[in-house]
Symmetry: C2
């Protein structure tokens, strides 16, 4: 409210919680998304890019993390009084698009999409208000074959971008099984919706809080390390035990099955297993081999779940669906080494109605305090049969997955699969500013030969600054032509990569053996640069000279 302030310069800053991406960050993400897109297209998915802005009524209230303060969207009122907002995910716009174009789209409609989404949340370390998502969804396919397909596609996409087969696991569960367990625990009915919400979110925190923390949240409540108290669902011990028995089903079955099935498969016979999976996928008799062990493990787990939900119809329905998914995946060679049934996966979002799935990266990284921990979740999704119905009134089955693009990129960097600085341009230096046309011509010839190249366009007075610039640009070669060279019709090529190596650790003999610069005729410039670039990549082969 201060008046009469002198006009001041605007701050050169992104708004709080926003950031820019430049250079390698942009290239790496683009490359990763191109690889994922190629997999999605191979599965028959078509690209879609909806507008970034939606009406608030179309977006609806489906934000995840409803127990977090300051959740919300960036919105404003347009001149007609309608409220508009930036999309907070790619699913709500898909539901709107599918409803809007329902008469023109094929049924089922498979689409993938990637792009920024925006959340009006409190920014924090690593938490931004604009971030990328990459989604794939199938709208209009009631069969869980669609869910199985998306899980298989997710596995293929992770491997395509560079995550090794042993470094990830996709966990599948079914909300219907969970609803069956809720029913058995006496938590069915519309009046128990709030309790069920607390239960869902508590289970979702199993990884972070462990069984005891989840037990506290299901019961009276939980005090965290800072002393803050979170109110619990207020369930009885008996109810809590039923729910914990469900989410720990995998561990229980694991313990039962360890000697019989799991150990030989997961530990001793990894090689045999992989071989068998390959045979299963491409060979003539996919039903043979250790995939049988996976089937037996799945059968054991499914029968355990069936016992847990025995009296609940919706629960049994869910177990059947999980069984179908497991069989369909097995038929394509995706065994529990890649895609596994795991009842501890619930996904926080309230709109899921059937199968839910999550991709976890299982390799270890060091956290900010230097402790080892698993990399964790990079993608998740599930079936949401009621989102399109909001618009049309008719139920439209849908299922889909969302990849956390920034997290997956961070994982690739942690595994050394991304993060290399892109190749810098060849820099033609300016020794004589009146001869800029000559330098532009050189650079034109280099570009015409497909070589990334530029003329130095800063103030050419200080030649040292030109070489510093080339260094900052990761330039492999600097090209120099002063008056003497021009008179002789030659240019000097300075090998900046070799130069840096020599500056670091070369002996005098090495330096003499292969000096970091050479003089070539102007006509031979392009070929000389090509050869030097090849040389920088490793020893030359005869073919390189041809």
């Amino acid at each position: 409210m201060a008046k009469d302030k002198a006009p001041r310069k605007p701050r050169a800053e992104t708004p709080k919680g926003f950031r820019d991406y430049s250079g390698a960050d942009v290239v790496e993400r683009r490359d990763m998304l191109a690889k994922i897109s190629a997999v999605y297209e191979r599965y028959g998915f078509d690209p879609l890019e909806t507008s970034a802005v939606e009406t608030v009524e179309a977006l609806g209230k489906f934000l995840p993390d409803v127990d977090r303060p300051n959740e919300g969207v960036f919105g404003w009122q347009d001149e007609d009084g309608d409220w508009l907002a930036l999309r907070y995910d790619l699913t709500a716009p898909l539901a709107r698009f599918a409803a809007q174009n329902r008469n023109d789209l094929p049924t089922p409609y498979r689409r993938y999409a990637f792009g920024p989404v925006w959340r009006n949340e409190k920014p924090g370390p690593g938490r931004f208000r604009q971030f990328y998502q990459c989604d794939a969804d199938t709208v209009g396919a009631p069969s869980v074959a669609a869910d199985a397909e998306i899980c298989a596609m997710l596995a293929d996409a992770l491997e395509e971008v560079g995550i090794a087969r042993s470094d990830y696991i996709i966990k599948v569960n079914n909300r219907k099984v969970l609803n069956g367990v809720m029913e058995v625990a006496g938590l069915a009915g519309d009046d128990k919706e709030a309790e069920r919400g607390i239960v869902l979110r508590a289970i979702d925190k199993l990884d972070r809080l462990g069984p005891d923390g989840v037990r506290a949240l299901l019961g009276a409540g939980r005090k965290d390390d800072s002393g803050d108290f979170t109110k619990g669902a207020g369930l009885s011990d008996a109810q809590v035990n039923i729910i914990l028995g469900f989410i720990e089903a995998k561990d229980i079955v694991n313990a039962q099955a360890q000697e019989d099935i799991i150990l030989p498969v997961l530990n001793n016979d990894t090689l045999q297993l992989e071989q068998a999976v390959l045979t299963a996928q491409y060979g003539e008799n996919p039903a043979k081999g250790p995939t049988d062990a996976g089937m037996r493990y799945n059968a054991l787990l499914l029968s355990h779940l069936a016992n847990l939900v025995g009296t609940s119809e919706v629960g049994m329905d869910g177990v059947d669906e999980l069984s179908d998914i497991a069989s369909l995946l097995e038929a394509q060679g995706y065994g529990p080494d890649r895609i596994v049934i795991d009842p501890s996966v619930v996904r926080g979002l309230g709109y899921y109605t059937g199968p839910v799935y999550e991709a976890e990266l299982t390799f270890e990284i060091l956290d900010e305090k230097g402790r080892k921990r698993q990399f964790g979740s990079v993608a998740g999704g599930g079936r949401y049969d009621d989102l399109v119905k909001r618009f049309t009134g008719q139920s439209v089955p849908a299922t889909g997955v969302s990849i956390g693009v920034d997290r997956l990129l961070a994982a690739l960097r942690a595994k050394g699969q991304a993060g290399q600085a892109p190749a810098g341009p060849v820099v033609v230096t300016v020794m004589d500013r009146d001869r800029m046309a000559d330098y532009m011509q050189m650079v034109g010839h280099l570009r015409a030969a497909g070589i990334r190249a530029e003329v130095y366009l800063g103030n050419p007075k200080n030649f040292g600054n030109q070489l510093k610039y080339a260094d900052k640009r990761n330039s492999p070669i600097a090209i120099i032509q002063g008056g003497d060279e021009a008179a002789k019709g030659v240019v000097i090529l300075k090998d900046l990569i070799l130069g840096a190596k020599i500056a670091e650790n070369a002996t005098l003999e090495e330096w003499k053996d292969r000096p970091a610069q050479e003089e070539v005729k102007v006509e031979g410039l392009v070929n000389a640069v090509k050869l030097m670039l090849l040389h920088q990549k490793g020893p030359l082969k005869l073919a390189d000279y041809l």
Copy 2:
């Protein structure tokens, strides 16, 4: 303000002025931007992706088209009271980014960027509130060599995406020359800023209104076809003549030079000219050949401009810069057949301070009324030396170009260079829903071989619907396996492309000669599909069978 309304379903609509892109629209834009990016990277430009949201103070008030009502941004106030807004172009965020990172960026900093921008304007036919831009800018290069480079790069980019060399022209002018002309016409000085603004915008409408319309706008004003009156700059006839003499300079010089230089180059010797340009760019003696004619044309035009601005220092400065740009471009083989000096180009934006440039597509299309007209402008830009200064207080020279992505894509479609429907997936139909696992396995084998394929995941009851679906998906092949086929270990491949042709116009003999479906062993499925896909592209060669 109606109360107690029954809750209603949200409308499934994009907000007014927004739209979605799907399928081929997404793919074509992505491919085009990838080609442009490759050219930009070859020129040494690095990618940048700034956040979509900026503070309003960082964006500043640099919107084009200030004479249009309802111009503006989409903005809102955040919880700290700061006003945030969606970026309206990619230049203002670059200025903010360059100021924010000025200690870390190389100087000069060459960057390219593409992405959506948003304008809070009245939507209309073909005018949207979210659209794509693709920009390239050089920050920190005072020399007009940077402007010349961007013009050359723009020419390369247009050719790379598929615009033929004879189908575009890049026009270059210089605001300093225009300012010199204003000075000569008595329009210098801070108190004449409003008049100069009107003059700029009037010249910018030359294409649309012709010389007489511009003359009216420079004088008392102009009544348009609808009867609406636009107030003019109120200049005297003498002043108007000076300015029109400037913007028509090219025509005057053209008339002077027609018999001497232009006609033989542009009409009679086109082939010779193209050959010479190629020689100039790649050959040994670039100063020879008809490029000399281009140089003579440029010299004639520049001396005419020098006469016009003779008494103005800034004007002469501008003529010298244009002369430098022309020489630098000539040295790289870009003659007036591709990049030409044209004083009628002014660009509407107020922030340009030196060279301005614009790419026009010169081929004709039919407008909505069926009349022939030139396709027109698809890109433009110029030098803006003061935008970064807003943040830092220090003048930072910068120049850059923005491509109208949607317009360029429309041009490619008009030339048949884009717009083909992408290849649809092979569709494995579902004859027996209990055997879904078998169908999933088939599709898995096809995908593993790199073939785009999917299982039909809708309700399989009506087989006709499955074929209709395949048709809607542009599917090349449908695969069918009922119980009989399964028992025999075979599948049926239905050639949907041949089938469509036969349905259209085949004789009975042709139909018998090559039926649109064939039966193959299950083991041979992948190879049979591969062969059929090849066959659909044209007659098979021996190598296709190996």
